[in-house]
């Protein structure tokens, strides 16, 4: 039989026992809805978490250090690579080279220094680091009080909440009873801080006294390879207070105060690396203790990391953590999928039952069809088409139902979140792939369920079937 004829006959037959077939189809709908609901919850949670992770900047960032730097994070590689003294220096040339690698969005110098900040004439020691303007999208600055830097060169700072508490003399909050950032923002935003720092100036400061006998005579050729360190003061304005800790992975060197990158570069703050790379530091070519590399997509981290390692640097990323996360999600999906499919399995038993009943009822009809020339295959396909039609109809209704359930739960959760003063989230995601999968799955399950009854119908003996009243 041709497919359109088959479909038409199948639908007509389904309409004949409307109540029974509707109930069976509804069973499939519920099964599909539960599958869709379970899986979309899983997908939604995964998306939510990976969105957070991507925005946190942890999973798309590679930290590059020189092998000459004893603080390098990738200590294992150090043993295999060239001796630290022979390996490359992480300077501006290297930074530009890294930035040109494919899939790299940007490579920015990691400027970080420990210094003294004065607020209302009280000194506070802290770690300061510079942020590229792209960090604005960083999750840590979501829900931040105040605003991000007005420009990349503005003399502005963003404070991490704990440092803000320190400035105001409040005890660092612990656990649930943390102080509200908004309370910290009021007395601090717009205020000025005085930052003391050591500036590196290229070239030697001319000695004020003539060289005395016995001392090493001052050689002018050394002047190019030397630098001076000058104490400087700079006023910066507090523009924002971040609730979260954007540098949580940095451990002991994590910063509590952030400056715009270009502004920080312009300060020429003396870095610890300047000591080990004296000659280069003096030549004026910037040398970095580490470089942050932002990668287009967390999936490309490994490739970028390998490429940078080939250039002779050490790298570090939290790729392994994300791998573990993927495993967790795979298990979660398997569980959600299995529980979601259970309802569909029950529904498929419904299909078998409905079709077996239909064969009993339509025994004579099957006999008639065979007598006037229907082949076994025609009868088989007719019943399979009926099962398949119930599967597709149930699938469509089920997807809509599952989607609706998701929306309702999403809405309910967000109402709750709003009451708790938290930003709304999207827990529920029904991607088209899932819709397609659910429909195909429902269709497939119904065909499998229809197989046995259809086979039975096809094998009916026409003489027996015709005798049946």
């Amino acid at each position: 039989m041709k497919i359109p004829d088959l479909t038409e006959l199948a639908l007509r037959n389904l309409r004949e026992s409307l109540l029974r077939n509707s109930l069976t189809t509804m069973g499939i709908s519920v099964g599909v809805a539960s599958l869709v609901a379970m899986l979309s919850l899983g997908i939604g949670l995964q998306q939510l978490i990976s969105r957070r992770l991507v925005r946190s900047g942890l999973f798309d960032t590679v930290v590059v250090t020189s092998r000459r730097d004893p603080r390098g994070m990738g200590r294992d590689e150090e043993r295999n690579g060239p001796a630290p003294s022979e390996s490359r220096v992480l300077d501006e040339t290297a930074r530009q080279e890294i930035e040109r690698l494919s899939n790299v969005i940007e490579a920015y110098p990691d400027i970080r220094f420990r210094t003294e900040l004065r607020f209302e004439d009280k000194p506070h020691m802290t770690m300061i680091s510079a942020l590229p303007s792209s960090a604005k999208a960083n999750d840590a600055f979501e829900g931040m009080q105040g605003a991000f830097f007005s420009s990349d060169t503005a003399p502005e700072v963003i404070l991490q909440k704990t440092f803000a508490e320190e400035l105001l003399g409040k005890a660092p909050g612990r656990g649930v009873d943390e102080t509200n950032v908004a309370d910290l923002a009021k007395p601090l935003l717009g205020k000025e801080l005085t930052m003391n720092y050591a500036q590196r100036v290229s070239g030697a400061v001319q000695p004020s006294a003539p060289v005395t006998n016995g001392a090493i005579p001052f050689d002018n050729s050394l002047a190019a390879a030397s630098y001076s360190v000058v104490s400087r003061e700079e006023k910066v304005k507090i523009v924002g207070i971040a609730d979260l800790d954007p540098e949580s992975m940095r451990g002991p060197i994590r910063a509590k105060v952030f400056l715009p990158l270009k502004f920080a570069e312009g300060l020429h703050v003396m870095q610890s690396v300047d000591l080990s790379e004296v000659s280069r530091a003096a030549s004026g070519q910037p040398v970095y203790s580490s470089i942050g590399v932002r990668v287009r997509n967390p999936a490309q981290i490994q490739a970028v990391e390998d490429a940078i390692k080939n250039m002779g640097f050490n790298t570090f990323s939290i790729l392994d953590a994300s791998r573990g996360l993927k495993q967790v999600f795979a298990v979660l999906f398997a569980f959600l999928g299995i529980f979601g499919s259970l309802a569909l399995v029950v529904a498929s038993i419904g299909i078998v039952n409905t079709l077996v009943m239909a064969i009993l009822e339509r025994r004579r009809e099957i006999g008639i069809m065979k007598a006037i020339g229907a082949s076994d295959a025609d009868v088989m396909w007719l019943f399979l088409a009926e099962a398949g039609a119930m599967g597709i109809l149930g699938g469509v209704v089920g997807v809509v139902l599952g989607w609706t359930i998701g929306q309702v739960i999403n809405l309910g959760t967000n109402v709750y979140l709003k009451r708790q003063g938290l930003p709304p989230e999207h827990f529920w995601a029904v991607p088209w792939g899932l819709v397609g999968f659910a429909l195909l799955f429902a269709f497939g399950v119904s065909l499998v369920s229809g197989w046995y009854p259809a086979g039975r119908a096809a094998r009916l003996d026409p003489v027996q079937a015709l005798r049946y009243e």
């Binding site: 039989m1 041709k2 359109p4 004829d5 006959l9 007509r12 037959n13 004949e16 004579r364 009809e365 006999g367 008639i368 069809m369 065979k370 007598a371 006037i372 020339g373 229907a374 082949s375 076994d376 295959a377 025609d378 003996d461 026409p462 003489v463 015709l466």
Partner: protein
């Protein structure tokens, strides 16, 4: 005539030949010999009646000729096809293309309209929808039911239902029309109407007709030959003189 005539096997050649045909059923320990060594020959274009009491095996013989059942032993050859040797698939094709059947209980599908019932064999033959509708209309017109094509069988009288069944049997232009007690559920007047129609197809379309009946009068009136069965065995096979109605039809045609 709206339906093109079947191209029959040349009149007089053998259309159906059964040799020592047996169909035995096993019921527990006992074996029921429904058909027990029946050998018959039906010529193309013949109108044959199979007569016998209930349980004589006449319907079983008809089912074997129709390809609905398979012989236990012996053979049925219809137009050079040995039905016993055909696969299930080939038998279905044979039923579709070669045989048209009508039954005592009409056997229309209740959920379908007349037009749909009539064009059902064409669906199995994978005929296009357009052509299917044309052929169904022609067949219904031929049995005088065109006006009722969108009615369901339950809205029709017995005679009308049997006419629709005849239209369905004709739609694939089979060479063989097999009728199992076609008038059994009809009053005598309507029965005669149906039988006239069957004979008309036999004459005009050149169809070979095998009719099972227990009414000897009906057989005498329409069939050219009467085959008597009892207990699954052939007991008599004799030609029958055409009756008065035959002359009337011929007269009406000229």
């Amino acid at each position: 005539m709206t339906t093109a005539p079947v191209v029959p096997a040349a009149r007089g050649t053998v259309a159906i030949r059964s040799e020592n045909l047996c169909r035995h059923y096993r019921m527990g320990e006992t074996v029921i010999r429904a058909v027990d060594g029946v050998s018959i020959e039906v010529r193309a274009g013949e109108f044959v009646a199979l007569l016998g009491t209930s349980g004589s095996g006449k319907s079983s013989v008809l089912n074997l000729i129709a390809g609905l059942d398979r012989p236990t032993s012996g053979s049925v050859v219809v137009q050079d096809r040995d039905l016993a040797k055909l696969s299930r698939e080939e038998l279905a094709k044979y039923r579709l293309r070669v045989v048209g059947m009508v039954f005592q209980s009409f056997n229309l599908i209740a959920s379908m309209t007349l037009a749909e019932n009539v064009d059902l064999p064409l669906r199995f033959a994978e005929v296009d929808r357009g052509q299917r509708q044309t052929l169904a209309r022609q067949a219904l017109e031929r049995v005088g039911l065109l006006a009722r094509m969108n009615h369901r069988p339950s809205e029709l009288s017995g005679g009308e239902q049997q006419r629709a069944a005849l239209a369905r049997a004709l739609i694939n232009r089979p060479q063989l029309l097999l009728a199992d007690e076609p008038t059994g559920n009809l009053d005598s007047h309507t029965g005669k109407e149906i039988m006239d129609m069957v004979r008309q197809f036999n004459r005009e379309l050149g169809m070979t007709v095998v009719m099972v009946t227990h009414e000897r009068a009906l057989a005498e009136r329409y069939a050219q030959r009467m085959i008597f069965l009892a207990d699954g065995k052939l007991i008599d096979d004799r030609p029958n003189a055409p009756t008065v109605d035959d002359v009337q039809i011929r007269g009406g045609q000229s």
